[in-house]
């Protein structure tokens, strides 16, 4: 184990005060000051050997979240597609652009919109910084979803990594919450109406309590809405709350969760990799149950088994330079793309919020448009019940699918690829079929104008899809005798439904939420 390095004493410190040459020493110190400063900051000199570089990783506060050596497989593109690191870079970029925006932004109903205009048209580089902040936010939502899909399809949620998947889901929710709270801040029409709709969705449990006749004493929906808005309408109270969440509460919570996320990656034995990569040494490390008992912890004798950190040194390479270069390359790539977007494309800013005239169509940000399509049939099912079931379902995945095989193997191998492809085709047909059907025939109320509201509330095209997906997943589990393939089936269904619904609501929904082939066909007003 590396021992603590002592700071190498600088030359001048060692010179004995012989005679009266103190002035000479003084001037030499001036000349030497920059180098001495450097040495005092970074204790070891330039690390020239693998061992010294490992030590540098180990002793540096920021680098030591990484192991000194890393498994070769973890650096392959196919292991991670770099998505976690890209998401992290985007998070840092959002922090770096968000703080300068706070210098001019004023979170008040009277001034917010004007301060956005000021940032856009007056503040030097303001437009660029705002653009980058906006595009990086969209990119982060997209990348966090892709990262999640990567972790899912490589079965990175099994065994010791179960809990990190749950932390990941919390990060996913944080990312969406950050985007959504940021959406209100410009106080333009887009912002106002998207958040009005969002807060009404929070209130939609009233559909159920109304039907049961218990709203007067158990108004969950109203409580949620008032807690979010601090009022009955989107106004100053809501802006204050969203601002506080956006610039402080959510970023801090995200940083805390990220710390746990990264710490767990190491404690769980590094990134997922196929067993075959470790075959030579697998028996040497053993499973958590057969690993050697701990002897000493930091200061005391600790019961329990050792964690699987760096026990397996074969097939590993030094983190410096290998992983550091990979991370640097991903950082440069992410920055290049985002900054270029920020330079060439302006973030939208519509007219100032006007509570008496809704946008038509009033569309939520793209990642919520799939839900908005479902909400347009009934608010509670589409906006509360289905998203809750999906998020809780995803969180439970590691606890329902525990087969240990195929960890680290994309799509669980050949059979899994077939299941994924077949599921993707079936889900595409089902979702498109459902949309074509509802666009042509309408939904319940168009056929039976007198159906009770409770039926409308729960029987949403989304509910139908959910049931079909769940049944399909159970069938796959039964046919293939594998919970992993069942999980793949249901995840693929969700993914396909998300993509198609998002596309559909983005492109084919126009004024009055009517169907249009393209925006060119929208009526002019």
């Amino acid at each position: 184990m590396a021992t603590e390095t002592q700071p190498p004493e600088s030359e001048s410190d060692q010179t004995p005060p012989d005679g009266n040459n103190s002035l000479r020493r003084y001037f030499r110190n001036i000349v030497d000051a920059p180098r001495d400063f450097g040495r005092s900051m970074i204790r070891h000199g330039r690390p020239t050997s693998d061992r010294a570089r490992s030590q540098a990783i180990f002793t540096n506060l920021f680098l030591h979240i990484m192991p000194t050596r890393i498994h070769k497989y973890s650096l392959r593109i196919r292991a991670t597609l770099g998505l976690g690191v890209i998401t992290l870079v985007l998070f840092f970029l959002l922090t770096a652009t968000g703080i300068p925006l706070m210098i001019y932004y004023k979170p008040s109903v009277e001034q917010a919109y004007d301060s956005m205009k000021e940032i856009q048209y007056v503040v030097p580089t303001g437009r660029f910084v705002r653009n980058v902040h906006r595009w990086a936010a969209h990119a982060m939502v997209a990348c966090v979803m892709l990262h999640m899909a990567r972790a899912f399809y490589t079965a990175a949620y099994k065994g010791a990594r179960k809990f990190n998947w749950v932390i990941g889901m919390a990060l996913f929710v944080m990312t969406l919450a950050l985007s959504f709270t940021g959406y209100l801040l410009p106080w333009d029409q887009l912002a106002f109406w998207a958040v009005t709709i969002g807060s009404e969705i929070a209130q939609s449990p009233r559909e159920v309590t109304d039907a049961l006749g218990i709203t007067s004493w158990c108004d969950v929906g109203g409580f949620q809405k008032q807690l979010i808005l601090g009022a009955n309408h989107v106004g100053q109270e809501a802006l204050t709350r969203f601002y506080l969440l956006h610039v402080m509460v959510l970023p801090l919570a995200t940083v805390a969760l990220l710390a746990v996320h990264f710490w767990r990656i190491r404690k769980d034995g590094g990134l997922t990799r196929p067993d075959i990569e470790d075959r030579t040494t697998a028996s040497a490390i053993g499973s958590p149950e057969t690993r050697p008992a701990r002897t000493y912890g930091l200061m005391a004798v600790v019961p329990g088994r050792t964690s699987a950190v760096n026990l397996n040194l074969t097939n590993t390479i030094p983190t410096w330079p290998n992983a550091l270069y990979a991370i640097a390359a991903l950082t440069m790539l992410t920055l290049a793309v985002t900054l270029a977007c920020g330079y060439f494309f302006d973030a939208p800013l519509t007219e100032q919020a006007n509570p008496t005239v809704p946008e038509n169509p009033a569309k939520a940000p793209w990642y919520f448009l799939g839900l908005q399509e479902l909400v347009s049939y009934s608010a509670f099912a589409g906006g509360v019940a289905i998203p809750a079931i999906v998020v809780i379902g995803l969180m439970l995945v590691p606890y329902l699918d525990r087969d240990p095989e195929d960890v680290g193997v994309w799509f669980a191998g050949k059979k899994g690829k077939k299941v994924t492809l077949l599921t993707a085709i079936l889900a595409t047909v089902t979702v498109i079929g459902m949309l074509v059907f509802t666009v042509n025939n309408g939904w319940l109320r168009n056929w039976y104008p007198d159906v009770p509201q409770i039926v409308i509330t729960f029987v949403n095209p989304g509910t139908v899809l959910l049931v079909v997906f769940a049944l399909w997943s159970l069938c796959v589990t039964k046919w293939t005798n594998s919970t992993r393939l069942g999980a793949i089936a249901v995840f693929t269904c969700f993914l396909v439904a998300f993509v198609i619904l998002t596309y559909f609501a983005t492109v084919h929904r126009g004024p009055n939420w009517d169907f249009y082939w393209s925006q060119a066909d929208w009526p002019h007003h």
Binding site: Q226, N232, E237, V301, Y377, A379, R445, Q453, N512, W513
Partner: protein
Amino acid sequence: MSNDLHSSPRFQPPPERRDFLGLAAIWSAVVGLGVAALGAVRLPMPSVFPESNSRVKLGPVSRFKEVETTPVPEHRLWVYASDEGLYAISAVCTHLGCIVSKEEGKGFFCPCHGSRFDIDGKVVAGPAPKPLLHLLLSVSPDGQLVVDKQKEVGGDVRLQV
């Protein structure tokens, strides 16, 4: 191996009284923090809402009696005059809060997700879960029409004036 460690003299089970005191300390800390957390969560729930005075004067009653419908966009409602009296219908869609527009002779229509309502505000199509709200009307001492934007009344209530 770990059994060896546990059976060494340093690992004797602690006395039970200490167990009790330790547990008592931990649980009182948990209860204390829990109560504090509940208190902290109570704070963001306002007890008085900014728009708590939801009654607004709309203008002299006589003005509303003369015309069949008077739109009041700044308060998001319409005032209707019928033979039985005055009534007000809110323009806030009961689905997700967009503002409905009037289609002459047919009722109301919401641009956000296409809910339709008849002239009385009853849902005829779309996702809206309940009729447009009828709001409580009254007359102030100085002869002005007053609407309470948060008081819902039955669809057949009319203000006789």
